[in-house]
């Protein structure tokens, strides 16, 4: 019982941070995915470019986020279902929100996940943030927040607002 309460306590700030960031992202009342893209682009200050990876050899990758000189690129596998692709693209956008949201978007008593040093050599390594190579607490915390945010955005954006995850994942 005590362990369960501790688990809940550890989870609550994640959900609170995710909810705060999702609802403070400026979107129209009836919002589409493009509205979210525009809001994130304005917040992050960079042009966003999406593309699909059509190579069938992708087995583990569900999304790639990279910073090129003149744009921020987001790649998702072409073979994924529309819903999963939507979730993956939204997940990557949520990373950009976490990185660039004003401090006062975070609920009192919580903080933005610590970002790696700007000159870290690991920025150019493809070590998945949720992999065993990236097991530092802050990366894992950001991943949890972002995953929660992506799910919440499916409720806030009209495309899948009236559906449930179970309908898509079974």
């Amino acid at each position: 019982m005590r362990g369960r309460r501790q688990g809940q306590a550890a989870h609550e700030p994640i959900a609170a941070i995710a909810a705060a960031l999702v609802w403070r992202t400026p979107l129209p009342d009836v919002a589409e995915f493009d509205d979210l893209c525009n809001a994130v682009s304005a917040l992050y200050g960079r042009r966003l470019v999406f593309d699909e990876i059509k190579d069938a050899s992708l087995r583990a990758t569900t999304g790639i986020l990279f910073e090129a000189e003149t744009f921020t690129g987001i790649l998702v596998p072409a073979d994924d279902s529309n819903y999963y692709s939507f979730l993956s693209r939204t997940h990557e956008l949520c990373h950009l929100i976490v990185r660039s949201a004003p401090e006062d978007w975070f609920p009192p008593g919580t903080a933005r996940p610590h970002q790696p040093a700007p000159d870290s050599r690991l920025f150019l390594r493809l070590c998945p943030r949720n992999s065993s190579e990236s097991n530092d607490a802050e990366s894992v915390r950001e991943e949890l927040i972002v995953e929660e945010m992506a799910r919440m955005f499916t409720r806030r954006l009209s495309a899948y607002a009236d559906t449930t995850e179970e309908e898509h994942f079974g």
């Binding site: 470019v49 593309d51 990876i53 190579d55 050899s57 992708l58 087995r59 583990a60 990758t61 569900t62 999304g63 790639i64 986020l65 990279f66 910073e67 090129a68 000189e69 003149t70 744009f71 690129g73 790649l75 993956s88 997940h91 990557e92 990373h95 870290s120 050599r121 690991l122 920025f123 150019l124 390594r125 493809l126 070590c127 998945p128 943030r129 949720n130 992999s131 065993s132 190579e133």
Partner: protein, 221 residues
């Protein structure tokens, strides 16, 4: 590898190539045609006037049905070298270079030395220029490689040539991708994935990023 050992190995390679030529009963002009290497170059290699490159060696051996690795082994034996150490140094040198390239430090090794010296001094290690050159040549001491592995954010066992082959291939792919991304002007990359990415998958990702950058910013020279 010392300079005298290197010279001895070059001489031994030339001698083994001459021996292989004799066994294959091939004249230099025919060998040049088959290997697509000019006969002038082959003459100079056989006479020890010019060191043979790895690519030339492979092509010369293939043209006469010899195994380049076996020829290198025979040459090393002829030169009195312990091949195990030599191969180890080559592997370690290649990995040091890749780690430096992935970090954007290879193009200016003097500046890289200054940065490495500064970083290592914080842990009490005074890096000499001689030690630095030994590291780049694949002959750095165990403790030095461990210190520089931390600086380069690469597993020390990889730089020491001690990781299992599949793990080494994965790190090779990681560092190769970082080198490629750097050349494309990419400053950050992150993946959301269900598992570790295998080298083939990293190559697919690299290709997709390159294609998108070409499309958005134009191809790079």
């Amino acid at each position: 590898m010392s300079e005298s050992s290197a010279q001895a190995l070059h001489g031994a390679l030339a001698a083994e190539l001459r021996a292989a030529q004799g066994v294959a009963h091939v004249n230099v002009r025919a060998w040049a045609e088959r290997s697509e290497i000019t006969h002038d170059t082959i003459y100079r290699v056989l006479n020890g006037k010019r060191p043979v490159t790895v690519v030339e060696l492979v092509n010369l051996c293939r043209a006469i049905g010899d195994d380049p690795l076996e020829l290198v082994a025979r040459a090393a034996k002829r030169a009195g070298l312990d091949l195990g150490d030599g191969v180890d140094e080559i592997v370690r040198s290649d990995r040091a270079r890749l780690a430096l390239e992935a970090s954007g430090l290879w193009d200016n090794l003097d500046a890289a030395y200054t940065k490495a010296r500064s970083a290592l001094s914080k842990t009490g290690h005074l890096l000499s220029l001689r030690e630095w050159r030994a590291f780049v040549d694949g002959a750095g001491s165990h403790s030095l490689v461990i210190a520089l592995a931390d600086f380069l954010e690469v597993p020390a066992d990889y730089l020491l040539g001690k990781t299992p082959e599949d793990e080494a291939q994965r790190i090779d792919a990681q560092l190769g991708l970082a080198r490629s991304m750097r050349s494309l002007g990419v400053t950050k990359i992150a993946a959301r994935s269900l598992d570790e990415l295998e080298p083939e998958e990293m190559a697919t990702v690299e290709s997709a990023i390159r294609a998108l950058i070409d499309k958005e910013e134009g191809p790079r020279s």
